[in-house]
Structure formats: structure tokens, C-alpha cells
Amino acid sequence: MQGFLREWSRNRMLFLMIAPTLLFFVVFSYLPMIGVYYAFTNFSFDGGLFGSEFVGMQNFRFLYESGVLWTLTKNTVLYNLAFILLGNALQLICAIFLSELPGKWFRKITQSVMFLPFFVSFVLVGAFVFNLFNSSNGLVNTVLVQLGFQPYDFYLNTAPWKYIIVFFNLWKGLGYGTIIYLAAIMSISDEYHEAAKIDGANIFQRIRHITLPLLVPTFILLILLSLGGILKGQFDLFYQIIGNNGVLFNSTDIIDTYVYRSLAVNFDIGMGTAAGLYQSFFGLILVLAVNYVIRKTREDYALF
């Protein structure tokens, strides 16, 4: 307390300057943490936070025993794995080609075009999906009919949506990731490539033996960092593509969309909060684990 008072009188202005930001985090991040108590109640709107019936672990038990938790976890993790692995591989390939291709204008224009999807709202992805796949007049069906096939009702079939979701995730993140890998490639000294050229190595050999090995640390680091967030779903992406189409939930419902529906559609506050707390809790453990691994191997890149 003494120390605080001394610091307060010495740096009062600094305290005042950060006060609004601290207040923001207290209100919008720390106060809601008290609300995880909803997860242990059978929430009623009359009772509110502490007036609702306390039910212990019952919500969690229901989520577990009904299989909902398993489906949600499986979907969230598998989609994120596909996003992370395919995304990074694709971005890496693009970055390598863009770093070696000679046409300056070609590189500039294609890089700009690939970065464009990052800038648009996910609602526009919804517009694309409508244009392409809606059952009465989507473009894919136009083409199918022209080629003499039967039109396909996308909204009744779960099979194609996995690929559609993964496609639009890759679509949105391609330019962003390519830029990060491109920056890593640019930081490789030219001397390695020059020396290899003199020794007669062709371009494939140089990429295989110089560029790729030197990118492995960046690749692993980015993958590890993403793995820390593997329980966090991309709500925008899934909700704009699938919406509230219950037919498709079995293969497209992730924790985030479930929590959202608990709040906005089913009004099941206790159950939704429980699923959210499950996600936050194991998410924290995952980040700690990832951070531990990074700290062991490459300390200067550890998160904390």
C-alpha cells in the first residue's frame, strides 16, 4: 500500500491515462467472468444471476451424456485442424512462388487480389454462398442443369458443406498468411541462394534445401500458435454460411454456434454458458501447454 501511494503521487498522470482502458477490461472482461456461475444454474429470467436454482454440474453432465459436447468438440477441432494445416501449406506454397517468379507486375497484382478477401465482411461470404448454392437459382445448379444433370438441393444435404466452409476459410486467409510467409522468406539472406547457384543447384534444389528448411521454424511456430486456439471456432464463417439450418448441424455445428443459439434461439442460458465455460477453460489449458512447448524450444517466441 505504501508503495502504491508513492507510485500514485509520483506518476498520477500515468494512472489517469490508463484508467479508462483498465475500466473497460474490468467491465467487459472481468465482470462477465462472474457470470460463468450461470453454467451451474437452471437459469430463470425472474431469478437472475444468484436467484436461479443451483444445479451443480448438471448442465455439463447433460452436455456430456447427450453427446452434444463430443460432436461440438470434434467439429470445432477438426475444422480448425483443416483450416490450420491446409491454410498454412497453401500460404507457404504461394509465398515461395511469389518470392521466385520474375514478373514484378504479375506478383503485385496477384498478391493484391489474394489479399482482397481479407478486407470484406463475412456477410459478403453469405452473399456468395447464396449466389452459388441456393436451391432455386444458384449458379452451381444453373451449370448442372446446363450440363444435363439434375439440380442438387444443397440445403438438404450435409456432404458438400464441409468443403464449402473450408474453401471460404482458405479463401479469406490466403493473402494474409502469404504475406507473413513472404516476409519470412525475404529475411533469408541472398548469399545462400547465390552460393548454391554457383554450385549448380537448380531452383527446385534451392527451394528444397535452402528456403524450406529455413522456413520450418516459422511454419512450426505459426502452427503451434494456431493450435493454442483450436477450440475457438470462427463464428462469423459458420454462421454466415450455415445460419440456423438445423438439417446441417450434425456436421457443421461448432461450440461458438451452439453457444450463440443457446442465447438467441433456445434461450437456454445455463447450458450455453456451460458450453462456453468448457471452451474457455480447456482453451486456457491448451494455450498454457503450447506456451510451455514454445518456451522449451524457442524461448524468445513464447507468449508469456
Binding site: M33, F97, S112
Partner: protein, 295 residues
């Protein structure tokens, strides 16, 4: 030997040009589809569905939108004001917090940094946050609900702090000896030196506000308060029929364009971003490569 090297380079370049062109085309294709959809005629869509290149071009959808543009203008006004206010306020708070946390002589800089950082590691989740905003702060259907809960982000503060750490400590120190207060030092010395990172973080914030539909989806119920993206979402979901003055005054069996109108609305909402994109792209690229080194 020389010939072999060249041949492999030709092969590499061919694969590269084809592959990269293909990816770039795939990135562009959805935009082109929506664009051509917006210029199609409604009858053709109903009869034959969306096409990449319509047989018949038509301005009917745009005419319908602008026959009664009030709804779009309202949404534009909300979004522009929200983006300006949110970015200005957010940038002010973020840079101020970043400055305080970067000051070596501020004793609590590490513990307060962790206090902020921890919110990215653990959260109460969507529902307690929603209930706080709606029941306790009473912000349902208020413009403030779109602004205040997303005003600052922990990541941006950390990014700002790391950038400001690279400014030599001797600058605020010597200004202090000359009698300048901390706020003056921040405003007159540190902010101008931080212009590049302010531009980058500010643009990311502006993009976030411009593209947001989620906050409006949760909190806004009055149609005239919809921001752009949420209006588009509602139009796409056919939940909000874009009000056009065409419907009433034509023959009873005339249907106002609905499918092409959705596409036209998407173009009108996205247009400014695509138009501004070439000018701001480099700031984002710079920001990414700074941020990528250490978040």
C-alpha cells in the same frame, strides 16, 4: 549444365504462373459472380438461375435500390459515424495505454500488462457478456452497444506497447526534466513518432467497425439503426425486404427484383472497401509484418 538449370527454371515459372493465376482467379471469382448477378435481369435469374455472364444485362436491381435509398443511406450514416467515432476513441485509448505500459519508470507496467493480456486467455464467454450489456448496462438497441464493448482490444494494446518500447526512453525523460507533463509528452512527442503504427492499428480498427454485423445482430432491434453489413445480412436472409417504391405503382402481378436486388445490395455495401483497398493495402501489409514478429 547451363541448359539444365534454365529448363528447371522455366518449369518452375510455368507451374508458378499457372498456380498463382488460378488462386488469384478463385479469390476474385465470388466478387465477379455477385457483380454480374447484380447486373442481371430478374426474369432470367428466376427462369434459369445465376450465371457467370448473364445473357441480358440490366440495371433494374440498382434502380430498385435507389428508388427509395433512405434505408441504405441510414445504414451508411450509422456505419460511417460508428467507424469514425470507434476508430478515433479506440486509437486514443489504445495509444495512451500503450504509452503508459511502455514507460520504464511506471512500476506497475508488467502487472497491468498481464491484467490486460489475461483477458485474451480466459473469458466468461458470450452469454455472461451479453447479459451484462443488456441487463446491467441497459444498452439494448443503443448505438453505444455497437461502440463501447469493442472499443479496445488487448492485442492492439500489446502491439502498441511493443512499438512504443522501441522509442528511446531518453525522449520522455529529457522532456520531463524540461518540465513537461506525461500527457503532454504523450501527445506532443510520442504520438507523432508513432504515426506508422497508429495508421496501421487505426486501419485495422476501422475495418473491424466497418465490417461488423455481429454486434448489431445481438443488440440492435430498430431497423433504422442497422449498420451496413447487418442490413445486408437481413436483406440476404430476406428478413428485411429492402423498401422500394416500385412495388406499389405497377401492375399487380409485377414482382420487384428480389434475387438481383440482394446482389446489388452486396455490391453497394462492399463497394467502398474495394475502392479504398488499393490505397490502404500497404499499411496493412506493413502492420502484418510488424505484428508477425511478435504478437
Amino acid at each position: 549444365m547451363k541448359i539444365r538449370t534454365e529448363r528447371s527454371t522455366v518449369l518452375f515459372n510455368t507451374i508458378g504462373y499457372v498456380l498463382i493465376s488460378l488462386f488469384a482467379l478463385l479469390c476474385l471469382l465470388p466478387f465477379l459472380l455477385v457483380l454480374s448477378g447484380s447486373f442481371s435481369s430478374e426474369q432470367e435469374i428466376i427462369a434459369e438461375g445465376f450465371k457467370l455472364i448473364p445473357d441480358q444485362w440490366s440495371l433494374e436491381a440498382y434502380r430498385a435500390v435507389f428508388s427509395n435509398p433512405e434505408q441504405i443511406f441510414d445504414a451508411y450514416r450509422v456505419t460511417i459515424l460508428l467507424t469514425l467515432a470507434g476508430t478515433a476513441l479506440g486509437l486514443f485509448l489504445t495509444s495512451m495505454a500503450g504509452y503508459v505500459l511502455s514507460r520504464q519508470e511506471f512500476k506497475y507496467r508488467n502487472s497491468l500488462s498481464f491484467f490486460i493480456y489475461f483477458t485474451t486467455l480466459f473469458s466468461g464467454g458470450l452469454i455472461p457478456w451479453y447479459i451484462l450489456i443488456v441487463n446491467y448496462l441497459q444498452l439494448k438497441d443503443s448505438y453505444l452497444a455497437l461502440l463501447v464493448p469493442v472499443l479496445v482490444s488487448a492485442w492492439n494494446i500489446i502491439l502498441m506497447k511493443n512499438f512504443m518500447k522501441s522509442i528511446p526512453e531518453s525522449i520522455p525523460e529529457s522532456a520531463k526534466i524540461d518540465g513537461a507533463g506525461e500527457f503532454t509528452i504523450y501527445l506532443k512527442l510520442i504520438l507523432p513518432l508513432s504515426a506508422p503504427s497508429l495508421a496501421t492499428i487505426g486501419l485495422f480498427m476501422a475495418l473491424g467497425f466497418w465490417n461488423d454485423w455481429f454486434m448489431a445482430n445481438l443488440f440492435i432491434t430498430t431497423e433504422s439503426k442497422y449498420p451496413l453489413q447487418f442490413l445486408l445480412y437481413k436483406i440476404l436472409a430476406s428478413a428485411a425486404v429492402l423498401k422500394t417504391s416500385i412495388a406499389g405503382n405497377l401492375s399487380p402481378d409485377f414482382k420487384p427484383p428480389a434475387e438481383t436486388l440482394k446482389m446489388a445490395a452486396a455490391i453497394i455495401v462492399t463497394g467502398p472497401i474495394v475502392f479504398l483497398y488499393p490505397f490502404v493495402q500497404r499499411f496493412f501489409v506493413k502492420g502484418l509484418t510488424i505484428g508477425a514478429v511478435k504478437g
